[in-house]
């Protein structure tokens, strides 16, 4: 197990290098000069050639691409993601100070999707073709088709403005977290429910379940001891993917609910053309996503010994 974990961590390094290369190349190779963009945005369109040249020199844009990439990667490896142009603060500090709020939202969103999705999927599997099954199916369709921001707005309208149960935005108490995480969770609950349903139906057809029934285990015990454990494995494997969905969702949700998080930071950085901040924050988010997927893989290997001994 230790060997497996070590191996997976070592495999992470080339992926992260490639990720940083992609971020770097997109920011540099696509049409659009960051210095010009920045001047046009940040300094009111005063693009005198001297100022442009000065800024290019200052940002190191005159160095060869390889040298620039080396600066970016070696800096990132030591926790230096450069300084924000607009706020003149270290990018990493800006991200870290907003990370709590984003992680909180993503985790609670994930929790909501599981708390809604898993029981719904189990019920749908138990009553195939019944009305719960229909609800499960509709929820997965709606979840895949509703814009996150719109669900958030509608929840604000109903639960904050009309019923007054939760605040519409801002706030630091737990109840300011309910609506954002619920709207993120509902979007993804359908996917979880559908997966849980098909996985449970498959497990129900397995020999060990029939043996359990044959030897007279009560349905509840059979489900808990044999069924759920096996049926949950596919759900665990998509947790990493789900977390990525949540992370992506926070970009929009944080704006809807005016939460000060990393996602909102990225959007405002793009709008104000704060190019080092975008680059750093995106690299950071991708790293978090890759790391979470690694952790999920390790949990998976721990749950299912076939994975770590296979190959």
């Amino acid at each position: 197990m230790q060997l497996y974990v070590m191996g997976r961590i070592v495999q992470l390094i080339p992926v992260l290098l490639l990720v940083s290369l992609i971020v770097f190349l997109i920011m540099h190779a696509l049409p659009g000069d960051p210095a010009t963009l920045m001047l046009a945005g940040a300094e009111g369109g005063m693009t005198s050639p001297e100022r442009l040249a000065e800024l290019r020199e200052q940002m190191g844009l005159n160095d060869p691409l390889v040298v620039q990439y080396w600066h970016f990667v070696s800096g990132a490896a030591t926790g230096d993601l450069g300084n924000s142009i607009r706020f003149r603060e270290p990018v990493l500090q800006m991200i870290l100070s907003r990370l709590d709020s984003t992680v909180e939202l993503a985790l609670f969103g994930l929790l909501c999707s599981l708390v809604i999705g898993v029981p719904l999927g189990l019920l749908a599997a138990a009553r195939q073709g019944g009305w719960i099954d229909a609800v499960c199916m509709s929820l997965s369709y709606l979840g895949a088709s509703i814009p996150v921001y719109w669900l958030g707005l509608m929840m604000i309208f109903v639960f904050a403005f009309n019923l007054g149960w939760f605040p519409a935005s801002g706030g630091t108490s737990w109840n300011s977290l309910v609506l954002p995480s619920l709207s993120l969770g509902l979007i993804n609950a359908g996917l979880v429910a559908r997966l849980m349903r098909s996985s449970m139906i498959e497990v129900n057809g397995e020999d060990y379940m029939r043996t359990g029934r044959a030897k007279g285990l009560s349905p509840g015990l059979l489900l808990r001891r044999h069924g759920l454990k096996n049926a949950l494995i596919p759900v665990v494997t998509i947790l990493g993917l789900q977390f990525g969905n949540m992370l992506a969702g926070t970009v929009v949700t944080e704006t809807v609910f005016s939460r000060p998080g990393v996602g909102r930071l990225v959007v405002s950085a793009i709008l104000s053309k704060d190019y080092p901040l975008v680059q750093g924050a995106v690299l950071f988010l991708a790293t978090v996503y890759v790391t979470v997927n690694l952790i999920v893989d390790i949990i998976y290997a721990w749950l299912d010994p076939r994975i770590r001994y296979g190959r």
């Binding site: 080339p14 992926v15 490639l18 990720v19 290369l21 992609i22 971020v23 997109i26 920011m27 696509l30 049409p31 659009g32 960051p34 963009l37 073709g129 369709y141 709606l142 895949a144 088709s145 509703i146 814009p147 996150v148 921001y149 719109w150 707005l153 509608m154 604000i156 309208f157 403005f161 990525g244 969905n245 992370l247 992506a248 970009v251 929009v252 704006t255 809807v256 990225v266 959007v267 950085a269 793009i270 709008l271 053309k273 190019y275 975008v278 995106v282 988010l285 991708a286 996503y289 890759v290």
Partner: protein, 302 residues
């Protein structure tokens, strides 16, 4: 290696049912299964309705989408079915005109994902070796980004705007296309007909497109259909954030964003465009699922 050509034993005993089915072309069989799918028929109907609305928007919309009707934030009524917005424009007309942008966005951005994705996936799967290693590593690294984040990076460079959103959303789906196509190519490559095509002296490009691509486009069509809906969703989200369409365009994401400030008093401004997106995307998802059961006889519709 060459001696073990699979499939030679399978042609021996065709079941009578299979013979009867074989008289119909595979395309027509797929079409029949697709139309037998109830959800797919509903989805198709919804999509056709939206396409008609987008094409005939100037004739169908009751008002000019940019005309100021005088009374701002009028609640839905018989004269203005979806009410009027913060500037007094007819929301229904704007929603109808908005379908043009969202549908275009869906189709155009899928094109930007499909073409590079298919070329990369085909090359990786067909050539193998270092080409495959190189492309696969690139795909893995691109998949390390949650897709909206990749789109954000691209928009950061290209600058906000609806066309840039189409490009960004498209490019961020390239790795998924490439992965899908590569996988299908690998499963088809070892088939005898590919070897036969090679023996007769066809060029690589011809084998890739005429023989391999023609046999893997089922899953690709399904994925593309679902992806159109997804692109519309992501594109509207980006416009909501202010990164896509700019005022005074009647774009669904932007309209919801503008209506956000007036949510408490005039919910219809933000709500109506969302319902429109919901119905369009549901249509694509229903059609996609129908196509899946059409192409894959193993998936039976209930």
């Amino acid at each position: 290696m060459l001696g073990s050509i699979p499939g030679s034993g399978m042609a021996g005993d065709p079941a009578p049912v299979a013979v009867a089915e074989a008289y119909r072309s595979p395309g027509r069989q797929s079409m029949r299964r697709f139309l037998a799918h109830k959800g797919a028929r509903i989805g198709l109907l919804m999509l056709v309705a939206w396409l008609i609305m987008a094409a005939g928007a100037p004739h169908i919309a009751p008002y000019d989408p940019d005309a100021l009707l005088g009374k701002a934030r009028l609640a839905p009524s018989l004269t203005n079915w979806f009410g009027t917005d913060q500037l007094g424009r007819d929301v229904l007309s704007r929603v109808i005109f908005g379908s043009r942008i969202s549908l275009t966005l869906g189709f155009v951005s899928v094109f930007f994902g499909l073409v590079p994705g298919v070329v990369l996936g085909l090359s990786a799967g067909y050539f193998g070796g270092w080409t495959d290693t190189l492309i696969s590593r690139l795909i893995d690294a691109m998949l390390a980004f949650p897709s909206i984040i990749l789109a954000l990076v691209i928009i950061a460079t290209l600058g906000p705007g609806i066309v840039n959103v189409m490009i960004a959303v498209g490019i961020s789906s390239v790795p998924e296309y490439a992965r899908l196509v590569r996988g299908s190519v690998l499963s088809v490559k070892a088939q005898p007909y590919v070897e036969a095509a090679w023996l007769v002296g066809n060029s690589s490009a011809r084998i890739m497109f005429r023989h391999i691509f023609a046999n893997i486009n089922g899953p690709l069509i399904v994925f593309t259909t679902l992806q159109v809906g997804n692109a519309i969703l992501v594109g509207a989200g980006l416009s909501f954030l202010g990164l896509g369409a700019q005022p005074p365009t009647s774009e669904w994401g932007l309209m919801s964003s503008e209506g956000r400030q007036f949510l408490q008093r005039a919910w219809w401004i933000a709500a109506s465009p969302g319902l429109a997106i919901l119905s369009v995307v549901v249509a694509f998802n229903l059609i996609g699922d129908g196509l899946r059961s059409g192409f894959d006889p193993k998936v039976r519709s209930r």
